[in-house]
């Protein structure tokens, strides 16, 4: 399979009068078409910065990246934001169709695709509610449906399940895998939950903090479709868990000293 995202020597420095923080340093990375990649690292390691650069919300200080285009009318990327990313003055339907409307697609296409993804995430009955009436899990379903409905080349996800309780998290992770397996989009997913990364990923990238670099990667070849029980039962996954855990411990220790 071809390369979908090619990142070369990406560097980001935040410069202020008194301080400079190297958020990312020399990130080089290829992600294959259809690959599900999780970025795991301690908080403040620059993983969100990397995602924001790919999402065109931040400019890199140096280096380049390309996202391969397969269809002319497809947007390059869509982001699933953290829980607050659902727009409060739009209904569930308005949020899911947001990207399509912004791109001025024909009305019937918008209707059809919105309805399809509302149904996919089980929110069709709630189409006319405002986000304030939704639980955290439902809000993230809206966010996921919005991104998939937009049909982008790649999906970027910034800790979408970070604020959810464990049970909801498991349910949404499996739902995400279901939708994803249907579309086989390339996904770059940020998390600090090791379990989440093991369940979702084809590949896990481990980051160090300040400067943010990618220091290790793990291929997860557990057969799909997967569920949490399989991940928990697999001895090699348990090994991976400990390895990643130790890495994160080291990083946190290091940044504290």
């Amino acid at each position: 399979m071809g390369t979908k995202i090619a990142i070369k020597d990406l560097t980001k420095v935040f410069y202020k009068k008194e301080s400079r923080v190297t958020a990312l340093e020399g990130i080089s990375l290829d992600i294959a078409d259809g690959e599900f990649v999780c970025l795991v690292g301690p908080s403040g390691c620059g993983k969100t910065t990397l995602l924001r650069i790919l999402a065109d919300l931040e400019k890199p200080s140096g280096g380049t990246f390309t996202i391969a285009k397969s269809k002319k009318e497809r947007p390059l990327q869509s982001m699933v934001f953290q829980e607050r990313g659902v727009i409060p003055w739009l209904t569930v339907e308005g949020n899911v169709s947001f990207g399509l409307k912004m791109r001025h697609l024909p009305e019937d296409v918008i209707k059809e695709r919105t309805a399809y993804y509302l149904e996919k995430v089980g929110l069709d009955r709630f189409a006319n509610l405002y986000p304030k009436e939704l639980s955290g899990g439902m809000k993230q379903r809206v966010s996921i449906a919005r991104a998939f409905a937009n049909d982008p080349e790649i999906l970027l996800m910034d800790e979408p399940f970070g604020a959810l309780d464990e049970q909801n998290k498991f349910i949404l992770q499996e739902e995400l895998l279901n939708i994803w397996s249907e579309t086989k989009k390339t996904v770059l997913f940020i998390t600090h939950s090791i379990d989440e990364a093991l369940l979702l990923s084809d590949r896990i990238l481990l980051m160090s903090s300040q400067p943010g670099t990618i220091i290790n990667e793990k291929h997860i070849d557990l057969p799909r479709p997967r569920n949490m029980e399989q991940v928990r039962a697999d001895p090699s996954m348990a090994e991976y868990f400990v390895e990643i855990w130790n890495h994160l411990q080291d990083e946190v220790q290091r940044s504290r000293n």
């Binding site: 919300l57 990313g85 912004m102 304030k132």
Partner: protein
């Protein structure tokens, strides 16, 4: 001990039901209190005025004010004053609010515009529009236009300032969402900035409404030959105290009415809050 045991036999549902009823009763009592205070004051006023404890020449009993109100209504005089004041308020209000929202959104969204215009607004805001009335009359004449402009001027500032604040306080993440999903500047304006700033903006409109009423009365006292403010002022000068009170009560009534209308508009426009 015995009693305690008997207590615990009571059906929990029954107990909660009684609690609920108690809360309902308290709620109704509070609602009653809200309408009691004005009635109480009016009754007290009537009583004191009738018994001569306060001077009935300056504080005529409310029943007589109602009578005067009725007579003025029948003669048609009242409708003329009320009509002209309402026209000035509405026209001035719209003339102030609409540009204030437009300019406020632009200032909130585009920081160069904000930096350019905010010193002007900050410098002009502290000047009471009434103090500018002479200049306004020089520019727009003594007719209706100058009154409408005076109102517009005083409504403009609270609305523009609240609109800017409303846009600036929109959570950054919604701007990121809009950008990420490819919103053009028109959509940024109408789908993000306008609805996102609406709650704070409407607080400004509410303030502007109060100021509009304040301004029209004062402006009509200073230079007009019609309107509620004119009615109050000329009645006072001719020592027609009951007529003056009719004017005051009208102001109070319209102020209250406009507030309620705007509150209604707020809940209509902000179903997502």
């Amino acid at each position: 001990m015995k009693e305690h045991e008997r207590d615990s036999v009571i059906d929990p549902l029954q107990m909660e039901k009684q609690e609920w009823k108690k809360r309902q009763l308290q709620h109704r009592f509070k609602q009653l209190l809200t309408i009691t205070s004005p009635i109480f004051i009016v009754l007290l006023w009537e009583l004191l005025s009738r018994t001569g404890l306060i001077d009935a020449r300056f504080f005529p009993p409310p029943t007589e004010i109602v009578g005067t109100f009725w007579a003025m209504g029948m003669s048609g005089e009242l409708f003329h004053h009320v009509g002209i004041s309402l026209y000035r308020i509405f026209a001035g209000f719209l003339l102030g609010v609409i540009p204030a929202i437009g300019i406020g959104l632009l200032m909130g969204l585009y920081s160069p515009i904000r930096h350019f215009l905010s010193p002007l607004i900050m410098a002009l805001m502290p000047i009471p529009t009434l103090a500018l009335l002479p200049i306004i009359i020089i520019l727009f004449g003594v007719g209706e236009v100058s009154k409408v402009v005076t109102i517009a001027g005083s409504v403009f500032f609270p609305v523009v300032i609240n609109t800017v604040a409303g846009v600036i306080n929109i959570d950054r993440i919604y701007l990121d969402v809009a950008k990420n999903y490819g919103a053009d500047s028109k959509n940024f304006f109408f789908k993000i900035a306008l609805p996102g700033s609406l709650p704070v903006m409407l607080e400004g409109v509410q303030m502007g409404q109060a100021i509009a009423l304040l301004t029209i009365v004062a402006a009509e006292m200073m230079g007009a030959n019609s309107g509620i403010g004119y009615l109050i002022w000329t009645s006072y000068k001719a020592f027609l105290i009951k007529e003056m009170f009719v004017g005051l009560v009208l102001i109070s009534f319209f102020g209250y009415l406009f507030s309620l209308m705007l509150r209604g508009l707020q809940t209509k426009l902000l179903p997502w809050r």
